[in-house]
């Protein structure tokens, strides 16, 4: 991958919506064209700013879903029905519209493809977004780093990137994907609906002795629970990186 792109001073740029793609009934991927985009690292986010005609403006953070690729950038936004910003991004914004963004942001919740250690990705709801950027970047650079994704979601209908995840986990490159459903499970599913617990984590994670690095992302409550479980299971807190999306954060 190109040089680290952890920039200091950032300016607002005007991106243009190049395409939109539904992921689920409530979430949409927004493909942005950003002139002179400096590139990004998998795991970083951008701030999005909306400004009303009367000058009122508000900002939110959104993780970058895509692997670094020229001036293109993808975000996936899940609608919070009463939200101020997400319904606009996921329902109203259309191809050709401008969107003000600032980024790429963050030098902590990022995966470095040159590190050989196994990677555990644990996402709840829309928390899968920055983890997907890591999976995509791994594929782009052809890394063989062992990757395991645990993706917790309300039900099968709420999964983002399903086809792509299936392809990437079946191509023998060393990515495994496990789904955990909290409310609704498909017919014949081996595990009843429920939150991620200690036994499931033990099943899908590497032993602490193998010194994996864990990236945990999603609603604040989900991240808190999973990070605590990982520490109780003996994982070094210094090897657990978290990204909390807030109280709702897309639900899991």
């Amino acid at each position: 991958m190109a040089r680290a792109k952890i920039l200091g001073r950032l300016t607002w740029r005007v991106a243009t919506v190049a395409a939109v793609r539904d992921e689920t009934s409530s979430a949409r991927t927004i493909v942005l064209d950003v002139p002179d985009w400096p590139g990004h690292l998998p795991g970083q986010h951008v701030d999005v700013r909306l400004t009303a005609p009367d000058g009122y403006s508000t900002q939110r953070s959104y993780s970058i879903a895509s692997a670094p690729e020229g001036n293109r950038l993808e975000l996936t936004v899940d609608v919070l029905p009463d939200g101020e910003v997400s319904p606009y991004l996921a329902r109203v914004l259309s191809v050709g519209d401008p969107l003000e963004i600032r980024g790429p942001i963050g030098g902590w919740f990022v995966w470095d493809p040159e590190k050989p250690e196994p990677v555990q990705l644990i996402g709840g709801g829309s928390g899968v977004v920055p983890l997907m950027a890591m999976i995509r970047a791994r594929e782009t650079v052809g890394a063989q780093t062992p990757f395991r994704l645990l993706y917790s979601a309300r039900g099968p209908e709420t999964i983002f990137y399903r086809d792509e995840l299936r392809r990437s986990s079946e191509n023998g490159s060393g990515l495994s994907v496990t789904y955990a459903y909290t409310r609704e499970v498909p017919q014949g599913w081996e595990r009843p609906p429920g939150r991620v617990d200690a036994s499931l984590l033990t099943q899908i994670t590497w032993a602490p002795e193998q010194e994996p690095i864990s990236f945990v992302c999603g609603p604040t409550g989900f991240v808190e629970t999973v990070a605590d479980l990982l520490v109780s299971a003996g994982h070094d807190p210094a090897r657990i990186r978290t990204e909390r999306f807030g109280p709702s954060g897309g639900g899991s």
């Binding site: 200091g8 001073r9 950032l10 942001i105 963050g106 902590w108 604040t220 978290t242 109280p247």
Partner: protein, 89 residues
């Protein structure tokens, strides 16, 4: 613990208005409990006016950034010995 905080990492954009380098990966020491932490690991509260980051160990305030029209207030007395990557000039 309450669920209304996010990670200090999310303050990266706001901090970039002030600093010339990324500070989210910067590490320092909590001046209350002496725990070492990266700024990205702080508990970030965004509901207060401005941003308030608290120590994950003792929950004391490690930094506070408030913006007003044409102005900013920054208080970092809760975090000492801040260390970050900086290219040689």
């Amino acid at each position: 613990m309450t669920e209304d905080h996010i990670d200090g990492n999310a303050a990266g954009g706001a901090l970039s208005d002030v600093f010339a380098v990324d500070l989210t990966a910067a590490t320092g020491q909590c001046s209350s409990c002496a725990q070492s932490l990266a700024l990205a690991e702080a508990l970030l509260y965004t509901q207060a006016p401005g941003l308030i980051a608290r120590c994950p160990g003792c929950e004391e305030v490690v930094f506070r950034l408030v913006r007003g029209p044409g102005r900013a207030w920054l208080d970092m007395r809760g975090m000492t010995c801040v260390q970050f990557e900086l290219a040689d000039s």
